[in-house]
């Protein structure tokens, strides 16, 4: 089931500072989520990603715009009739019911022709439970489960009635680091196995990049960029997206374009064609540096962090926005990097130029 947003806008009344003013949580959201994909809504806190999820779910109503599931306009359909499954951030498992009762709960709500017999319910519950591999926990109470197990129960409960759309709100934020890795693979597996269009919200770019078919990067209620994780990473549309994706984050510098060359400080570091002369913000991915004795880009070396396969060169540059510049290079170069200074050549496809005022991509 594809999900289509048409000019979706949600405004909240806010009373901060005594004066009534509106907060636009989601601003003119226009997008189509293809059928059967796993989509990550990504952005910093307060960017409107959870609001978007609640709009899809129907827990809140949009101020303007329409939402379609496939061809159906569901904008005015109440939440309980939309046929979505949702996994809440704190799981919201009913503490007084066993795992089995929790999973069966949505099925017991079905009425009329959809009504199921007890045996059918049990069978469906068992199938959902086996999908998330918790068949052996059916008679426990949620309080007797670990965080990861609770998460699975919540997913089983959301999946049991085969929703048209599965929504996950910060599904991994309450799990510890090891479990997080495991669970994100699990979510990806379950999504592939069921083929249900799945939307999840996260502020962790690594999480979103690793499992999403498509990521939607948001900031202040506005979509910044959408696309396959790798495409968005390789071709960020603006400075925000470039900065938000990638660990360690992109290095940014004050630069200037003169006669088709990018100058950072006094050095011409890269030939850039088709960019008008003027001041720019240059972003260089950490993997975009090639150490070279006679390289054009020279930094003051402060530290080398050895990580085995790679090494991270921590350096300083007067034009850099951050106190340190981080370059990830092959450990083959380890012996060559010492002394006061380190010089690099730059990989052209890892360098992006942005307009200093708007942050729009220039190169």
């Amino acid at each position: 089931m594809k999900v289509v947003f048409q000019h979706l806008t949600k405004k909240f009344a806010s009373r901060s500072g005594g004066a009534k003013k509106e907060v636009i949580a989601v601003n003119d959201f226009d997008y189509e989520i293809p059928d059967g994909t796993l989509v990550g809504l990504l952005g910093p806190s307060g960017c409107g990603k959870s609001t978007t999820l609640n709009l899809i779910c129907g827990l809140i109503e949009p101020t303007e715009g329409r939402i379609f599931f496939g061809e159906d306009d569901v904008t005015d359909v109440p939440c309980e009739k939309r046929g979505v499954g949702m996994v809440f951030q704190n799981y919201a498992l009913y503490p007084h019911l066993t795992v089995k009762q929790n999973i069966i709960f949505p099925l017991q709500n079905l009425k009329g022709k959809d009504k199921l017999t007890k045996a059918e319910m049990e069978e469906k519950a068992l199938r959902a439970a086996s999908l998330v591999q918790i068949e052996n926990l059916m008679d426990r109470k949620p309080s007797e489960l670990s965080g990861g197990q609770q998460q699975r129960v919540a997913i089983a409960r959301a999946l049991v009635k085969m929703p048209r759309i599965l929504l996950l709100d910060e599904p991994l934020s309450n799990l510890d680091a090891r479990l997080r890795l495991q669970t994100r693979e699990e979510i990806s597996r379950i999504q592939r196995q069921t083929g249900i269009t799945t939307v999840f919200v996260t502020h962790d770019q690594e999480e979103a990049m690793s499992i999403s078919d498509i990521i939607v990067v948001m900031k202040d209620g506005v979509i910044q960029q959408t696309g396959k994780p790798q495409d968005v990473y390789d071709e960020p549309k603006n400075l925000f997206v470039a900065k938000f994706l990638g660990t360690p984050p992109i290095n940014t510098f004050d630069g200037e374009v003169k006669n088709g060359s990018l100058y950072i400080g006094d050095e011409a570091v890269l030939t850039v064609s088709g960019v008008a002369d003027g001041k720019v913000v240059a972003g260089i991915r950490p993997e975009g540096f090639i150490p070279k004795a006679d390289g054009h880009f020279t930094c003051a070396l402060s530290q080398v962090e050895v990580m085995g396969r790679d090494i991270t060169v921590v350096a300083k540059h007067p034009a850099a926005h951050n106190p340190t510049v981080r370059a990830i290079v092959s450990s083959d170069n380890l012996s060559a990097i010492n002394g006061e200074k380190v010089s690099f050549d730059l990989k052209e496809n890892k360098v992006f130029l942005f307009a200093p005022d708007s942050g729009e991509r220039l190169f």
Binding site: F88, N90, P95, F105, P106, L110
Partner: protein, 297 residues
């Protein structure tokens, strides 16, 4: 370790002393009195030890009347007041405008003096040569015959007593229930909504279990409170409750001690112990039943 233990007891001492002097000693004393036949509080002497006091009390028509009244009162007011409070609390939780106003209004009886409320009820229900009372206006409006609720038939008096009791105990219950309802995590309701749960099912399967500890607390204290009813009956019917067939067990105990027919601490003690046994039994039943229905998170 030993020092710590000593310290612990030291901290507990004030409370323990207070409890021992004002609760435990009197309790034991009452228990002893109830078995001493013909105890005289002036000479502090008795004829002997036995079950005569209990036999007397259990054969006293006034006690049986008080027992019956108390049971009717408990069985009607505890479920009804809890149920109505629950309905009102749910109502209060689901409205936004004027919620504070209504909350205040519903809480007012709690801070109003019992006797003042009794006076108001007299105006509402008492039939005098000059007026039939406000309640009778409604009765006659619907074609009924005016009833004297204060001095009239038994059922009318019992109705007023129950009505009054329910009205008086509700504010506290509403207060506790509204805060219990407010403390239920909204996420559960959202989850239920997404899963297409109807309002009634959400209430019975989610809200009720979530607030069940509070409900249980209210029911237990409600039972105990209703069994100990006395001042309400006095406020409505005056002090000569036996004559009006409106006495309660605690009223009987009081009458046996200080009333016109008073001066019998042994009978009073026996009646008090019987009440204690009843309350204990009911509370134990409540505790047993609750194990199945109360969910502690």
């Amino acid at each position: 370790m030993k020092n710590n233990k000593f310290k612990g007891w030291l901290y507990l001492l004030p409370a323990l002393l207070f409890l021992a002097v004002f609760m435990i000693y009197p309790l034991i004393d009452v228990f002893i009195y109830s078995f001493e036949e013909g105890y005289n509080s002036a000479s502090q002497t008795s004829f002997g030890v036995g079950l005569y006091n209990y036999s007397y009390v259990l054969h006293d028509p006034y006690f049986l009347q008080a027992l019956k009244n108390t049971f009717i009162l408990v069985m009607i007011t505890v479920p009804l007041s809890t149920l109505i409070s629950l309905l009102i609390s749910v109502g209060l939780s689901s409205i936004k405008p004027l919620r504070n106003l209504f909350q205040t209004v519903y809480f007012l009886p709690y801070v109003t003096n019992t006797l003042a409320v009794g006076m108001v009820f007299m105006i509402l229900f008492q039939k005098t040569p000059y007026t039939d009372g406000l309640a009778n206006l409604i009765v006659t409006f619907f074609g009924g015959e005016a009833v004297d609720f204060i001095d009239g038939p038994y059922w009318a008096k019992m109705f007023v007593l129950c009505f009054y009791t329910i009205w008086v105990v509700m504010p506290f219950k509403i207060l506790v229930l509204t805060s219990a309802l407010a403390s239920v995590n909204k996420n559960y309701y959202n989850a239920a909504k997404v899963d297409g749960t109807g309002a009634f099912r959400t209430f019975t399967r989610i809200t009720l279990p979530m607030i069940s500890p509070t409900m249980f607390y209210l029911i237990i204290t409600g039972f105990i409170g209703a069994f100990k009813a006395y001042s309400d009956a006095v406020a409505l019917f005056g002090t000569d409750l036996n004559a009006k067939e409106m006495n309660t067990i605690v009223g009987y105990v009081y009458d046996m001690l200080y009333g016109n027919s008073g001066g019998y601490p042994s009978y009073a003690s026996a009646a008090a112990i019987i009440l204690f046994a009843i309350v204990l039994t009911i509370t134990c039943i409540n505790l047993t039943v609750s194990k199945k229905y109360v969910h502690y998170s």
